[in-house]
């Protein structure tokens, strides 16, 4: 608070003193009483663990250190160097990005198409279909994992039966490495109801007079979509994009349920090894806490970079109503 104290030459209590006196106000004391649970939680469950996690990532913290058999030793950057040498890290990152590249655009496009159709059929029928489309979104991910294994079963699953009806021999969705991630992405598209509701709310917010003005200027429906609808809902699209990207980076439950655990003797298929799953295994199966902490910080860095890119892109393309377009 050095900058606060500097430059106070006026008589009376200094600014620092007045600032400190602010804490003694009844209102301030009550406010701190109100937020003390959060401050405690932040210190004990967020800030403290962050510091410890950073510390562990430079140590050999593992199962014998948890048990107290061996002392904790700092190992410098070894864990971070191992991030580059462990070829499963590269594999997990590749899987995660591939999955994200399939899931995020597919889900946004399908959700947008559904939302736009709902817009056109009136409020009552639209509300009915909206409810139907939302229901898959409330399916617990573990149940989705079970459905992946049963509906997409290569030999007996309903999906391949249905495909056989129209003359297509379906692949072994859950066994062929190349089909595992598309299968998961298909289930994510199925659960696109949340994204759809967000986009629908955004679509309803587009003022009607913009369309009227556009059509008076002779803009075609396609042009109206690209020049009116898309700019007007771009904040919601951007929001969905960030949320879904982070969800893809953290994909764990569905893939873990379907392909990992004791059923496979602990070794799931390489094609389903997502970053969060590998991190979980390193931390809680092999108890390589030091290495897993380093992995967690890499994930944090990747999330930051991805969000940073998103924000950079937003500045150029997202149009906030009332703000000047730069």
């Amino acid at each position: 608070m050095a900058s606060v104290t500097a430059g106070t030459t006026a008589p009376g209590p200094s600014r620092a003193r007045r600032w400190l006196a602010g804490f003694r106000e009844k209102e301030a004391r009550t406010a701190y009483l109100f937020i003390v649970p959060w401050i405690f939680g932040f210190l004990v469950l967020t800030l403290g663990p962050m510091i410890y996690s950073a510390y562990y990532s430079f140590t050999n913290y593992g199962v014998s250190q948890i048990a107290g058999i061996d002392p904790v030793k700092t190992v410098g950057l070894k864990n971070y160097r191992q991030l580059f040498h462990d070829h499963y890290i590269g594999l997990a990152l590749k899987n995660t990005f591939e999955y994200g590249l399939m899931m995020v655009p597919a889900r946004i496009i399908v959700a947008l198409l559904l939302a736009m159709m709902l817009m056109k059929i009136g409020e009552r029928a639209g509300g009915f279909f909206r409810t139907i489309f939302y229901i898959p979104h409330i399916t617990p991910p573990v149940a989705i994992g079970v459905l992946v294994l049963t509906l997409f079963n290569g030999g007996y699953g309903i999906v391949n039966k249905a495909l056989a009806h129209i003359g297509i021999t379906g692949p072994y969705w859950t066994i062929t490495p190349g089909w595992i991630k598309p299968t998961l992405a298909i289930m994510d598209v199925w659960a696109c109801g949340g994204t759809m509701v967000i986009l629908l709310a955004a679509l309803y917010g587009v003022p009607r007079h913009l369309y009227e003005a556009a059509s008076m200027d002779g803009a075609s429906k396609v042009r109206q979509f690209f020049n009116v609808t898309l700019p007007m809902i771009s904040p919601a699209l951007f929001f969905c994009f960030i949320i879904l990207t982070l969800a893809a980076l953290n994909q764990f439950t569905v893939a873990y349920t379907s392909f990992f655990g004791t059923q496979t003797g602990g070794n799931g298929p390489d094609a389903a090894l997502f970053y969060a799953i590998y991190l979980f295994e390193q931390a809680f199966k092999f108890f390589n806490m030091g290495f897993a902490s380093a992995m967690a910080w890499l994930l944090f860095a990747i999330s930051m970079v991805v969000t940073g890119i998103n924000i950079f892109v937003t500045k150029r393309f997202v149009f906030y109503q009332g703000a000047e377009r730069s």
């Binding site: 602010g22 106000e25 301030a28 009550t30 406010a31 701190y32 109100f34 937020i35 959060w38 932040f42 469950l45 967020t46 663990p49 962050m50 996690s53 948890i66 559904l114 056109k120 059929i121 009136g122 409810t131 139907i132 489309f133 939302y134 229901i135 898959p136 409330i138 399916t139 573990v142 149940a143 994992g145 079970v146 459905l147 294994l149 049963t150 079963n153 007996y156 699953g157 309903i158 199925w190 949340g194 509701v197 986009l199 709310a201 955004a202 309803y204 917010g205 369309y211 904040p235 919601a236 953290n250 439950t253 059923q263 809680f284 806490m289 944090f300 930051m304 906030y320 109503q321 009332g322």
Partner: protein, 333 residues
């Protein structure tokens, strides 16, 4: 900020009870949209009906599979050829078909899941509301700094804090076991699943603060002139007005707890302490084809129904809040 379904619209007119309707909190009607021609409309109806069938089919398939006898799961019939009750029955040795509640403490799992969800959601709802109210209404030093930190914590992936928090619970567990007069708290108990909820959650605090900011300050000033203390102001004015937002937070947290696999997977060892998602994962590993022996898919399907059905019922009861809550998120800009 986008125009549209804003936070204010979380307040349906009928729900404010006896309290006066806040001027800003008026539900904007959805604007009537330009309707397409009847040809396009009927095309859309056909398309939407087709997609609806695709979206609903897995549920009907699951419901039907849960009532099929062993071996019929993959006949994919929408109405079972033979009906079977796969939940309870006599204890029979392995070659015979198994029943869900015999092979696993599924009733305990259900109880645990319900209990943890409701306890966690109730705690986080009230505590987050309290913290949000402080950030929305009170003036205190460091307010903006603390709020910036709060927003910052939303960016942090859970994986970063996961390991130290586990080790913390592990240490607490060792400590409580070493002192026999203390209750056993730590790993392999259910405390780690819901205790963090008692400290509020950044996302919900942010959501509720937006809501409280929509309530005019005059309401609180009036209450203070009436002689209310700060806490009774919160309890008597803020909480009742925020009921719709509270319900949204409650539902979101129940859903998050009901979905969670990773936390129980990390902390719970004894089957009796498990929640339904973890139990279902166990059933899947044990009774599917890879589990060894004759697969008992009917048990897995019965367990899946046990996990899915409560969420569907909750959704049926609070549909409006599920959809409003989600729609509100996107319009925060």
């Amino acid at each position: 900020m986008t125009a549209g379904v804003g936070a204010q619209e979380n307040q349906p007119p009928g729900l404010s009870g006896g309290t006066p309707v806040v001027p800003q909190v008026v539900r904007r009607r959805w604007r009537p949209q330009p309707k397409a021609s009847w040809l396009t409309q009927s095309l859309f109806y056909v398309l939407l009906t087709g997609v609806s069938i695709l979206f609903i089919y897995p549920f009907i398939w699951l419901l039907s599979a849960a009532f099929k006898p062993r071996g019929d799961t993959f006949d994919n019939a929408l109405i079972p050829h033979d009906w079977a009750w796969n939940f309870t029955g006599p204890h029979l040795a392995d070659p015979a078909p198994q029943y869900l509640f015999n092979v696993a403490p599924a009733a305990r799992w259900l109880f645990n899941s319900v209990w943890i969800s409701f306890l966690g959601a109730t705690l986080t709802m009230f505590v987050s509301a309290m913290i949000a109210f402080a950030f929305a209404y009170f003036r205190f030093p460091l307010k903006n700094f603390l709020f910036a930190i709060l927003l910052g914590t939303m960016m942090l992936p859970g994986e970063v804090t996961m390991i130290p928090v586990y080790l913390l619970w592990n240490t607490i567990g060792k400590f409580t076991l070493a002192h026999s007069w203390l209750p056993h708290i730590g790993t392999n108990t259910q405390y780690p699943l819901w205790v963090p909820n008692a400290f509020g959650s950044a996302f919900y605090i942010f959501l509720m603060r937006q809501f409280f900011l929509g309530i005019p300050r005059d309401y609180f000033e009036a209450a203070r002139i009436d002689g209310d203390g700060y806490f009774s102001m919160f309890r008597r004015i803020a909480l009742p007005l925020a009921k719709p937002a509270l319900i949204v937070v409650f539902i979101f947290e129940v859903q998050a707890k009901w979905f969670d696999l990773m936390t129980p997977l990390i902390y719970l060892r004894d089957q009796a302490t498990w929640t339904v998602p973890l139990g279902l994962k166990f059933l899947l590993d044990r009774f599917n084809l890879a589990g060894g022996g004759v697969p008992n898919y009917q048990v897995i399907m019965a367990g899946t129904l046990l996990l899915v059905l409560p969420m569907v019922l909750l959704f049926a009861a609070f549909q409006k809040y599920f959809i409003r809550g989600i729609a509100t998120q996107g319009t925060k800009g």
